[in-house]
């Protein structure tokens, strides 16, 4: 089986416990306008040329899982400390549950845990295929507003909610990840609703990810307009306020 890998980033320090390698996969079923990895939305391979360096990069190299595992296993020594391992991100890795299951199993044989970074808007059957194979899920909670979810990012909140609940209920380790997006969910009302949703699902850990526009160059290289190009990252005070609020109910960390 193969995966369309857009990049492999070693010593990723923000994508889970310990020292990790993050595998970014192609293809996403949402279209969040602030997305920082727009090169991973289209499932097909794409070649981008960056203006600043003139460098051309291929995103979406079709890679045999066996070969990918060989590459990922190079860092086994580094993963061993503090629960490190591999993180699969994207795009939406849950669009390829069979391949991710095979990857998880192959890594598992070598004692390397796999973390899945997902927005959760996929049929529950996809998560069923990964039962017992995943160290931890990073599960995005972008909004608790059904209309916003449908209209802005193209998601089905009911499906996301139910997946989150079922994952936690199944006994998986799930951390909720909230991107703090100005003009989208950066309000007290929105925080309260998200907190309610997460509490109902039984979530205990929350990571806050302040918006950044580091993906801007990728939009330019893709020839796409970036809706958030002019949007400034939230200031420290706003992020701190969010941390305080969620901190009342959940174990909360900010991932800068």
């Amino acid at each position: 089986m193969t995966l369309f890998v857009s990049s492999v980033q070693r010593f990723s320090v923000g994508d889970g416990p310990g020292i990790r390698t993050t595998v970014f996969l192609k293809g996403c079923n949402l279209h969040c306008p602030w997305c920082h990895n727009p090169e991973n939305i289209d499932a097909r391979p794409q070649t981008l040329t960056y203006r600043a360096t003139g460098k051309t990069v291929l995103y979406g190299k079709e890679t045999e899982i066996g070969q990918l595992v060989e590459e990922l296993a190079e860092d086994t020594d580094f993963y061993r400390a503090d629960g490190g391992g591999v993180t699969v991100s994207g795009g939406e890795p849950m669009l390829h549950p069979e391949s991710v299951a095979e990857l998880a199993a192959a890594l598992g044989k070598r004692g390397i845990p796999l973390l899945v970074d997902t927005a959760g808007c996929v049929p529950w059957q996809s998560f069923e295929k990964l039962d017992g194979l995943i160290q931890m899920y990073y599960f995005d909670v972008k909004t608790a507003d059904e209309d916003l979810c449908r209209d802005v990012i193209g998601g089905d909140l009911q499906l996301i909610k139910s997946n989150l609940q079922r994952l936690v209920a199944r006994g998986d380790c799930v951390h909720a990840r909230i991107p703090l997006i100005p003009g989208f969910n950066l309000s007290q009302d929105s925080f309260s609703k998200m907190a309610e949703l997460m509490a109902a699902a039984g979530i205990r850990h929350v990571d806050l990810l302040p918006f950044h526009r580091l993906g801007a160059a990728k939009y330019e290289a893709l020839g796409r307009e970036y809706a958030y190009k002019e949007m400034l990252p939230p200031d420290r005070a706003a992020v701190e306020k969010a941390r305080e609020f969620f901190g009342k109910t959940f174990e909360t960390a900010v991932e800068w």
Binding site: S7, V8, Q9, R10, F11, S12, V13, G14, D15, G18, I19, T21, T22, F24, H36, N37, Y50, A52, T53, K55, E74, D75, D77, F78, R80, A81, D82, G84, S89, D117, Y138, R177, D207, L209, H212, R213, L214, G215, A216, A217, K218, E220, A221, L232, P233, R236, A253, E255, W256
Partner: protein, 702 residues
């Protein structure tokens, strides 16, 4: 930074007029003792240097010792007279073991000046010495007595300054008491021990010596620190304040030409009985260096396997401020490397560093000397000096390597012959170092100069090997393109490098595409392993002029740029004039698979063959030094060390670096932005987005 340190730094910023002119004072001693023996005349020169200037005390001094008064403006006749004497009593230089020395401050702090004088007297009276040795012992004594006078003149000066505006009476009294006390007794307090060591160091600097290491200050002052703490005379903060007061004065070195001297300070490591030597004073030293926050205080942390996490964590916090220190040294690898040379185990455990990273048996060997050995030059020789037909008749990579090995062996012969000749001075009796010899083990017992058989061990020379990355990449490119894929002949490579790849664009692409060192690819990494082992073998067979070993190092951080300027293009695709790979690092920007892959590659060579030391530079963005992330960096270092890595010099990409990267993206091809769930190189980001990161960085620095 506390107020007194800041105020002292401001005082230090005032550059004195004139130039550092120790010879003007030395010659007075020479002239007054013209008829004496050369040893003693040499010593009187130093005595004049130590005693014929008015000591200078900064308003914010807690510990005294300044070379400011030695900045002088000379008249012509004085200068001519000094020059005449300098012809008679020549000065040693870097190649003749003049400086880059770590003194035996352990003994000095324990027995003080009186103890050393007694030691000399006892040695002179033991009836075992020749006339020559007795003459030398008396020259050592002259310098120590002059040093005592210097201490007393500082004490006097402190007394005289009491009541002067800007000076603090209590501090002056402390200086007066400490200097008087250690003139006549061994140091009894931490402040006295530090005062003694700093003034000895100041005397070395006043002689014109550079890169004189302070060495293992957390060890040789530890018992004084401990007893002061026990009786409530000192706190950790007080110790840090005193240390910062000393380290700030390293800043005086920039008066000469605006650049800082490289004063190595070593913390941590292993005790003489083999235990982890990290102690509370190690942390005081670390924080004092951070407090002063200036270059020149070249802090090295010896990290033993059982170093507590807290120690590495504190080191990383200091590195994360953007200071770039301490350099982290794998203690077990360094000790294993030194053990190969038969030093006594206790001496191995007591090593420190001089200069940037050079391993040194503290106070037991002559001053350091090194040179640059450039293996790339010899690869160029094989390719460009072998006739075309002969070159293309080379049947295999192994056969090619035999040619290269022969040429390297010839190069090492030439290099060592040159240095062994250059290191032996014509008339060692005329350029003795009687003061430095007082602080080198065995010189007093033997009655001999440090460079004339006095030191416990003979001299070592460090051959600093250039371009491990460039060589490995070049050999891999030859193997790939010529002997594996058969896409070019060796003579094509020669023609291409002669033409700087102009007209050889296809071949240029082929060699650039070959595997590069630093990506955990054995096809190329095997050449780095070979390079280290083979050159270590060659240098192991050589001896310095006095029978000491030639060590190897990979630590050229700047000279790789100059060396590259003189070289043609290389088979790895590097163009003529471009820098060679630096130190022990892969070629800059060619380690494209991330830091773990880089560290997997660079931990493959056997660094227990590199007794001099190696440097691997790595940059991380400031976010990696935050709480919660820093432990991952610590783990990265632990794993790297457990795999045999020798050294890592970590830099936090400060605001300045990021700004430079924005202005010169070509210099930072692999600078990674680490944000959760995101992957990008810094240099592809648009300016305004780079500014987001800059403002974030600024925030973190506060």
């Amino acid at each position: 930074m506390r107020k007194i340190t800041e105020a002292l730094k401001t005082e230090l910023d005032q550059v004195p007029a004139g130039r550092l002119s120790p010879e003007l004072l030395r010659m007075r001693g020479y002239a007054a003792h013209e008829k004496d023996t050369p040893y003693r005349r040499r010593a009187y020169g130093l005595a004049a240097l130590f005693t014929s200037y008015e000591p200078f005390i900064y308003q914010n001094d807690l510990i005294v010792g300044s070379i400011r008064p030695l900045y002088m403006v000379s008249n012509e006749s004085e200068a001519a007279e000094a020059k005449k004497w300098m012809e008679i009593h020549k000065e040693r230089n870097f190649h003749t073991n003049a400086d880059h020395f770590a003194a035996d401050y352990m003994t000095a702090a324990r027995i003080g000046i009186p103890g050393l004088l007694e030691h000399i007297d006892r040695s002179a009276a033991n009836g075992q010495h020749s006339e020559d040795e007795l003459d030398y012992l008396s020259s050592m004594k002259i310098t120590l007595l002059a040093f005592r006078e210097l201490l007393l003149s500082y004490a006097r000066k402190a007394g005289e300054l009491i009541g002067t505006e800007g000076y603090d009476t209590e501090r002056l009294r402390m200086i007066q008491d400490n200097c008087t006390a250690i003139a006549w007794n061994a140091p009894q307090t931490f402040a006295q021990g530090l005062q003694l060591v700093w003034l000895i160091h100041t005397c070395f600097v006043s002689e014109g010596k550079g890169a004189m290491a302070l060495g293992r200050i957390d060890q040789f002052l530890y018992s004084l620190y401990e007893s002061d703490i026990a009786c409530g005379r000192l706190t950790d903060d007080g110790a840090q304040e005193l240390l910062a007061n000393v380290f700030a004065k390293i800043g005086e070195s920039k008066y000469r030409d605006g650049t800082y001297d490289v004063i190595n300070i070593c913390i941590g490591g292993t005790t003489p009985d083999g235990k982890c030597a990290i102690n509370p004073l190690s942390y005081c030293v670390l924080h004092a260096v951070d407090e002063v926050h200036l270059p020149g205080q070249n802090l090295s942390a010896r990290v033993p396997e059982d170093a507590p996490d807290e120690f590495l964590d504190e080191c990383l916090k200091v590195i994360g401020t953007g200071l770039g220190y301490p350099a982290l040294m794998n203690d077990s690898v360094n000790m294993a490397a030194l053990r190969r040379y038969g030093y006594e185990e206790e001496d191995v455990r007591d090593y420190c560093m001089v200069g940037c990273i050079e391993n040194f048996i503290t106070g037991k060997q002559p001053a350091w000397s090194d040179g640059r050995f450039d293996p790339i030059m010899f690869l160029e020789d094989v390719l460009c000096k072998t006739p075309t037909e002969e070159l293309d008749a080379i049947p295999s990579m192994d056969a090619f390597m035999e040619r290269y090995k022969e040429r390297l062996a010839w190069g090492v012969d030439k290099y060592t012959e040159w240095f062994s000749r250059a290191s032996a001075v014509a008339d060692p009796k005329m350029c003795t170092s009687p003061f430095m010899s007082c602080f080198c083990d065995c010189c007093i017992e033997r009655g001999k100069d440090i460079n004339m058989g006095g030191a416990k061990y003979p001299s070592t020379h460090g051959a600093v090997l250039m371009g491990i990355g460039t060589v490995s990449d070049s050999l891999a490119a030859i193997e790939q393109v010529v002997f594996t894929d058969h896409k070019a002949k060796l003579s094509d490579i020669t023609a291409a490098i002669n033409a700087n790849f102009e007209g050889f664009e296809t071949l240029h692409e082929l060699v650039k595409a070959a595997p590069k060192y630093g990506n955990n690819n054995d096809f190329v990494d095997k050449y780095a392993v070979w390079y280290t082992g083979y050159l270590a073998d060659l240098f192991d067979r050589k001896r310095t002029y006095d029978g000491g070993p030639y060590y190897i190092a990979m630590a050229a951080n700047v000279t790789n740029i100059y060396a590259g300027k003189d070289l043609k293009a290389t088979p790895d695709g590097r163009l003529a004039g471009q820098p060679l790979s630096d130190a022990a690092s892969p070629t800059y920007g060619k380690d494209e698979r991330g830091v773990t892959a880089t560290l997997l590659s660079v931990s493959k060579p056997d660094y227990t063959r590199c007794a001099c030391g190696t440097v691997v530079n790595q940059k991380f963005s400031p976010s990696v030094f935050q709480d919660g992330k820093r432990q991952k960096l610590r783990q990265l270092i632990r794993i790297y060390f457990s795999r045999g890595g020798q050294e890592i010099q970590i830099n936090s990409t400060s605001r300045e670096v990021l700004m430079d990267a924005s202005a010169h993206p070509e210099k930072y091809p692999t600078l990674v932005v680490r944000v959760s769930g995101f992957s990008a190189l810094y240099v592809i980001l648009p300016k305004e987005v780079q500014n987001d990161i800059l403002s974030r960085t600024q925030h973190e620095a506060v």
